[in-house]
Amino acid sequence: MSNGGGSAPVRKEGGFEREPARRVFSSELRECRYQFREGDDEKSPTFVLLPTGERCNRVFIVGTLTEKQRQGDQNIFYRGRVVDPTGTFFVMAGSYQPEAMQQLAKIETPAFVAVVGKPNLYQKPDGAFTVSVRVESITVVDRETRDLWVLDAARSTLDRIEALTEGTSSDAARIKEHYPSLDPVTFRKMAYEALAQIKI
């Protein structure tokens, strides 16, 4: 079984640590405006800075795949839209992630999906920002997994807000610099609304 692009954990001397997958709602991820690389090495991980104050190299999201589209002639890739209670994630899988692309190609919409992937921040020519998630794996899941994720994402969001307001976030300085006008209350409301939408 060959593994789809990029996600194969390589164990190096001195102990490799896989970057954890953050649980983040789409309407927070969409607000990311700053991306940075830690270290000078070509292989050093890149992070987007979440507005609630955490660096993020990988995300875990669960939502409804509502649309998928095949694009490109030479380099085929798939785009998809994954919807959570707060908005839409844009996901993509190209020929560098053959396994993930095949998984995505196979799924009939609509379906609940769990996605592990890497977020990337782009600026369009008109100056607008988009964040898309390059898929490492995508699987069809049930409603219960979706509900568990909403709880998980809400909890993680509230934890991040708490760390930010208490000043215990390790990237607090970066947040001040890059998101000066941001109010954490927005994201607490977002978490509340997401929770209110699911029926348990």
Partner: protein, 415 residues
């Protein structure tokens, strides 16, 4: 300074020599040196000991503070204090004999006194008398060197070995696993886990644990060596503590071990981790294992074992390797057959049948298992060893309504 304790220490040392000394008198002397003359406690203890030794005509007894590590020193030293580079004289009991790894070595084993133990090696060229296990010896002018980071006592042609006739009691002091250092160590520990043996010469390997931590152990096949029983508690005397890549392991080849009563609450024991399965690694699902006894390695698709080459009569097994992620940290997982069957709902027999009747073969099992568990929330119970979580039980998480309410309150509270 605790004078009565120090006095007790001194009197014990003398009574080991068959001399009875007055503990009260010693205490008075110590107190006088320290309180009246401002002598350092350690120095006071030393000088009282030396004074008594002179009185009782016991040359070479008593501790010296530095400057005595000269060549051919006849002054007997406690084993716990000797260091590489020194020439020493010790008295100890041979507590273990190893089979010599090379003809250049006449004998090797472990010698211990009340303070500690050390590995000794007698070169064939030294023509030293063979020592017998369980007997006491005085070894004069041996050299301490270092081998693989562990102090070693070298018996060479200039070393004198004299049997000590009197019988002395020696009770090794067991330490906690967390306190073990490279060298020789004694522990009282519980057998937490047994691993597949990876070498023909290996009798058993696994994990021992006590309240302070866990350690890997290994027993090589040798006459008279028996396996440990998983779940039982053992007292293990004089095992070799080896260090590799900064991790310690316990080699029981020199050790004597006996089952002990009771149970130990092993620390670093089961950890519960809730998270999602974010990656299922290649090599998961249905695999083939080498049938050679004691090998059990996973075979390649062409049934090739890295040690025993092509093995057409392989044995099927199920396992899952992957990553569990709780959003803060990732854990490398290893799930064995029973856990895989319970989690995926696919038994080994079903998997075999599926692989044999499907054009994709074993890949089909991988794909079905992956689709059944990847991206799902689970709770894994297991033990973390070498950055890998060996999972004993793994089950899907369910939504708890109370949690939903609690989170709503947290998000809405003070809004």
């Amino acid at each position: 300074m605790d004078f009565s304790q120090a006095a007790e220490r001194i009197s014990v040392r003398f009574s080991q020599k068959g001399q009875n000394v007055d503990t009260k008198k010693i205490e008075v002397k110590l107190r006088r040196l320290v309180d009246e003359f401002g002598v350092q406690p350690a120095e006071a203890e030393r000088s009282v000991t030396n004074e008594l030794a002179k009185e009782l005509n016991l040359p070479g007894f008593g501790t010296s503070s530095g400057g005595s590590g000269t060549a051919g020193s006849k002054e007997e030293r406690p084993i716990s204090e000797i260091a590489p580079g020194e020439w020493v004289t010790i008295e100890g009991k041979v507590v273990g004999i190893l089979s010599p790894p090379s003809p250049a070595i006449a004998q090797s084993g472990i010698i211990a006194d009340a303070t500690g133990a050390i590995r000794f090696v007698a070169w064939s060229k030294a023509n030293a008398p063979k020592m017998t296990e369980g007997s006491w010896y005085r070894i004069e002018s041996a050299v301490v060197d270092e081998y693989k980071g562990v102090a070693n006592l070298k018996i060479h042609s200039g070393t004198a070995i004299k049997p000590v006739v009197e019988d002395r009691a020696l009770i090794p002091s067991a330490v906690k696993i967390g306190e073990l250092k490279p060298g020789i160590g004694s522990v009282r520990a519980k057998v937490v886990q047994e691993w597949e043996t990876t070498h023909e010469r290996m009798l058993q390997s696994g994990v021992l644990g006590d309240e302070s931590g866990t350690i890997k152990f290994i027993i090589w096949k040798e006459a008279g060596k028996e396996k440990l029983a998983v779940g039982s508690v053992y007292t293990i005397y004089y095992a070799q503590v080896d260090e590799f890549n900064g991790r310690l392991s316990l080699n029981l080849s020199t050790a004597s071990y006996m089952p002990d009563e009771g149970d130990i609450a092993v620390s670093g024991g089961d950890t519960d981790i809730r998270g999602t399965l974010v990656h299922i690694a290649p090599g998961s699902g249905l695999i083939k294992r080498c049938p050679v006894e004691g090998c059990n390695r996973a075979l390649s698709r062409q049934n090739y074992c890295p040690v025993h080459e092509i093995q057409p009569k392989f044995v099927y097994d199920l396992r899952i390797k992957g990553w569990l992620d709780d959003g803060k940290k990732t854990y490398n997982l290893l799930l064995q057959r029973d856990v895989v069957e319970a989690l995926t709902g696919m038994t080994l027999d079903t998997a075999k049948e599926l692989a044999e009747n499907n054009p994709l073969g074993m890949d089909e099992v991988f794909l079905r298992m992956r689709d059944a568990i990847l991206g799902r929330y689970v709770m894994c119970k297991g033990r973390e060893i070498d950055n890998r979580l060996l999972v004993r039980a793994c089950e899907r998480l369910r939504v708890e309504p109370g949690e939903h309410t609690a989170l709503l309150n947290r998000a809405g509270g003070a809004a």
